[in-house]
Amino acid sequence: MHHSSTWFTMKSYTYSCLIIPERIMFHMPTVEISHISKSFGALKAVDDVSFDVEKGEIFGLLGPNGAGKTTAIRVLLDIFKPEHGSVSILGGPMTESKKDRIGYMPEERGMYQDIPLDSCLVYLGSLKGLAPAEVQRRISGYLQRFDLASSRHKKVKELSKGMQQKAQLITTLIHEPELVIIDEPFSGLDPINTQMVKDLLREQRDKGVTILMSTHQMHQVEELCDRIVLIDHGRTVLYGRLDEIRRQFSGHAVIVRTPDKLPALPGVEHVEQHNSSAYRLNLAQSTNTQDVLRNLVDRGIQVDQFEIAAPTLDEIFIRVVQKDDQELGETA
């Protein structure tokens, strides 16, 4: 298994050189999910999924509804035991003391409805190992920042959905966790609060906090995430650095924005209108994009914009999921 082989490597290095193990420790992922599977009756919710989340990165866990994202998170947090595979979190299996180093915001938001907001936050914060006085001190700052200070004595049920969402975020971060696992962080938030949460997540990352984020909002993933895993029907269908994935799906085409009419160009197989002022030029395999640009300039075409046609994450998502559905349909 991956985990045991890492350990083996570490041991062998320990005997040969004292510096290298530290490097390995430094690079040891915060989360290592290795070939996990989990079923509920006949339904295979997660099927042989593996991915690592590196320290200090924002990692996107993506997938369509019912893909197995929440189950994967619950296995990772030791809420569910996997039938196969192993999970290493913060350097080993989940323990009770590690729970204090993790902040989790589940998809199903939950707060005690019948008690005042500050009591609820103090209680949930104290369960993360903080002294009540310390929680009190910390929540004051967060309530100010989240514009909830005037609602601190209100019962949770009297708060709006967005306010409850922000309160939930406080419970996730109050104990200054090393790892934050956050399911759909932007649902129910207006643009101002969405921006605030984005800033907060970036701020956490800059402090060295590792963030695992599950969301459907692809533009947020594009903005925030360094790496992603896309799972569908419980299986990993895409995994890696976001820029590499986009490059992998970019095909061999360029987008050219110009007010001029495009002439026939060598090495260009097909031209299609991209939008009102831009064209998509599908290139032959042997064509170099630099040659295309040179040809355009040589012909006196006004080039307002020239870029490699990389698909949006939304497009990649749809393409991959549709392909996966098709393959599964054929197998069935």
Binding site: R74, L77, I79, K81, E83, E96, K99, D100, I102, Y104, P106, E108, R109, G110, M111, Y112, Q113, D114, I115, Y123, L124, S126, L127, K128, G129, T171
Partner: protein, 400 residues
């Protein structure tokens, strides 16, 4: 403070300081107080202070000693002597008397007197006149003889092995284990109901997932069970306090309450039966809370368990007749009926030690089993939102 205690104290204060709990807690003693006040009021209203007259032809009351003093809330009904009936009759018709008695010349032989009234006086007036007559009849007797006669008989019935006894003055001792048993069961049923609600609530408001990523399911569950037991004990202590107060006050008015004795043996038996029963019921309620998706559904299932718990109460007449019947013995061994059956039988018989031992062992095993069941149901059902967990899943080989 460990997380386990934080959960226990949070659960305890969340339920105990709720208006609904306080209302339920104090409504029982308040109803008792209300009933006592009502009884006092009835006594006070029944003791009409309009005088009673008498015409003595027997000579017994020539130098009449005054009537014995009465205790509050009873009011003294003045007893006035008349020399002739005409005057007494006129006063009766004028409403100055509620009744008058004619003591005939042969009263000491016949023991009969005549009572004349327009509207029959209440029992209290008659009792006071009887006490007045008795005091005068015994006036020449030594004080202790007079007192002995006034106190009447006190028969003590003993069991053949002399281990148990009952008497008019000590009838309350028969009721005591029954009363303690009922209180215990009411206390644990209501507090276990709170536990079930607390588990369902955390599923309904989706706090469960946050909780299990902060504490272990074991800590969460045991914290809740301890809080539940503390809630039940609070309830019982408050009720016991009111009962003791009622007994202390009531002793002044109901002499037989003075014969009340708490035996260490009885307390030990009740505790040995009720403590595992409490844990067993708490476990069952928590398991129900973990399997259902809504509080109302939980209440219905809870009702199914409440029936066998109270079932022995229906057979109380049979238990009085034969507290050692096969039915009583079997019901003492069945975990859900055992607490009430043992409490009822304790009042009427000496339960053989072997039966008590079997009963306690079965209850302890049931308590362990129910806590295991609750733990498993909890782990399987904690994140089933809006979906019921089937009992067969709990007993399946699914890994949790």
């Amino acid at each position: 403070m460990s997380k386990f205690w934080k959960i226990a104290s949070h659960e305890y204060s969340r339920h105990v300081f709720r208006r609904r709990f306080l209302l339920a807690l104090f409504s029982v003693p308040l109803i008792m107080v209300f009933m006592v006040v009502l009884i006092f009021l009835i006594i006070r209203m029944d003791s009409n202070p309009t005088p009673i007259g008498y015409i003595d032809h027997s000579g017994l009351l020539v130098k009449a000693i005054p009537q014995p003093a009465v205790k509050w809330p009873e009011r003294t009904v003045p007893i006035l002597p008349y020399t002739d009936e005409t005057k007494a009759k006129a006063d009766l018709q004028a409403g100055k008397l509620q009744a008058y008695y004619i003591i005939p010349a042969d009263y000491l032989q016949s023991g009969q007197a005549q009572e004349i009234y327009l509207k029959e006086p209440k029992g209290i007036a008659t009792q006071q006149f009887d006490a007045f007559l008795s005091a005068n009849l015994l006036a020449n007797q030594p004080a202790e003889v007079a007192q002995r006669i006034l106190d009447g008989n006190n028969l003590i019935v003993q069991s053949a092995d002399k281990s148990r006894e009952a008497s008019k003055d000590r009838f309350i001792n028969i009721l005591l284990p029954i009363l303690a048993g009922i209180l215990f069961i009411v206390g644990m049923s209501t507090s276990s109901g709170y536990l079930m609600q607390a588990v369902v609530e955390e599923k309904e408001n989706r706090t469960m997932e946050i909780m299990v990523t902060s504490v272990s399911p074991g800590q969460l569950m045991s914290g809740k069970v301890i809080a539940d037991i503390a809630i039940g004990v609070t309830q019982l202590l408050v009720w016991a306090l009111f009962i003791v107060l009622a007994l202390i006050i009531g002793k002044n008015f109901i002499p037989s309450l003075g014969g009340l004795k708490f035996s260490g043996e009885m307390i030990a038996i009740i505790a040995a039966v009720m403590v595992p029963a409490f844990i067993m019921i708490s476990g069952l309620m928590a398991a129900i809370g973990a399997t259902v998706s809504e509080g109302s559904e939980g209440q219905q299932i809870m009702g199914l368990f409440t029936i066998p718990i109270w079932l022995p109460y229906i057979f109380i007449a049979l238990f009085i007749q034969n507290p050692n019947s096969p039915l009583a013995i079997v019901m003492s061994f069945f975990p859900l009926t055992a607490p009430m059956t043992v409490a009822l039988r304790l009042g009427f018989t000496t339960i053989p030690t072997w039966q008590l031992l079997i009963s306690v062992i079965i209850l302890v095993l049931s308590a362990i089993g129910s806590v295991w069941l609750a733990g498993r149901a909890f782990r399987l059902g904690m994140l089933r939102y809006g979906q019921r967990l089937h009992w067969k899943e709990i007993f399946s080989h699914q890994r949790v």
